[in-house]
Symmetry: none
Subunit: 220 residues, 2 copies
Amino acid sequence: MLSSKARRIFEFIFRFGKEHGFPPTVREIGEEFGLASTNGSRYYLGILERDGYIKRNARISRGMEITESGLRRFSRLYGLDADHSETGIPILGKVAAGAPLLAQEHQEGKLDLDVAFPSRDARFALRVRGDSMKDAGILDGDLVVVRKVDHADSGEIVVALLGEEATVKRLEKRADRVVLHPANAALRPIPVAPADEFRVLGVVIGLVRPSVAGGRMSRR
Amino acid sequence: MLSSKARRIFEFIFRFGKEHGFPPTVREIGEEFGLASTNGSRYYLGILERDGYIKRNARISRGMEITESGLRRFSRLYGLDADHSETGIPILGKVAAGAPLLAQEHQEGKLDLDVAFPSRDARFALRVRGDSMKDAGILDGDLVVVRKVDHADSGEIVVALLGEEATVKRLEKRADRVVLHPANAALRPIPVAPADEFRVLGVVIGLVRPSVAGGRMSRR
DNA sequence: TTGACGACTGCACGCATGTGCACTATTCTC
DNA sequence: GAGAATAGTGCACATGCGTGCAGTCGTCAA
């Protein structure tokens, strides 16, 4: 059990790091808490390290680090602004008018790649080039997440190898041949002749659109 | 445009921080890159600061910080790998014809939420309902990733609270008022009267489209 | 051929910062 | 009333670390 002061010092280290991008020195901690001697701070740092909340690197300036398990334990035991502390992005449910955003009760869960794209097969991601699938909401620059299988059903969006090139298209299987459909009114379906070198690399199970310039999603 | 070495130094600062919890010193940078003089590092730190990739605090040990906009810009221009992320999904680069899929040399990096959506502001995700933004590639059921800020520029896609409801729209700021634009030809822009209860909750920096039943992206 | 520029080296200076050792005051237990 | 634990103070010391200034070496355009 951490004393109230030890807790406040841990919180200070956490806040300081968020704000400045690096941890405080022993003197900065002492200043914050009115400790006249640097050993006042060191005393508490020793406690926090002993209990596994932080790790210290001897002789290195600002050489402390909040451990992941320490952060988790601290926020569980004593609470901490939960939003940024844990890895993962909170998924908000209903956002009521006056309610403070990010309030615990509105969280639906955490965004997690393994939850968002569950698969027992291997997965991989592929950056999409071009707008051939834009009517399916797959834009240039998107990363499609693919479940790696060599068999796909008609109607599924697949990543396929056609000749030398990997391409993302909707698959149509006919009795005699395969047709790849772009999702773009300007483009024609691509018939695949039996002689063509064609292989399904996987089925698209989702996508990630990474952030772009200035946090703005460009107009497309 | 950053030189190759400046890029590698930025990446080193990024990796070092992730690994140790605090930034490197000028000497540690010099050691890593074989620079005999501390001013070798300072030269590059000056460049990185001048171009807005990092912020420095004079006279403070390890007093540098990767700026949020710098991180975003860097990862857009030059890419940033999640070094050794344990549970990531590999991002494939060029997929050559005969080459075995998932071969190491074809990997561009790992899919990592912190790299895909870098932000030092708090982030959250919100499930989109309806097709009002479908021409921007945002479909029903998508999770938009939002950087939580209360100010947004004209042209950005934002999450806003209008009355009781949270909505995703493109923001247009006019001299006298604000207009919210759907990205759907069937819908009209929404003018916001000054009297309306209106608040920007954040800026959309990306999205995640989770897989749906059976690993198939439904036809829309 | 000169001179600007990029990419450094070398070095000393001086404050920043972690550390060791000695000591103190209060509280609690035995 | 002794002893131990908690929560510090005070100070000197050695390094850590950012900074300033001067100088070098290759390249490339004028």
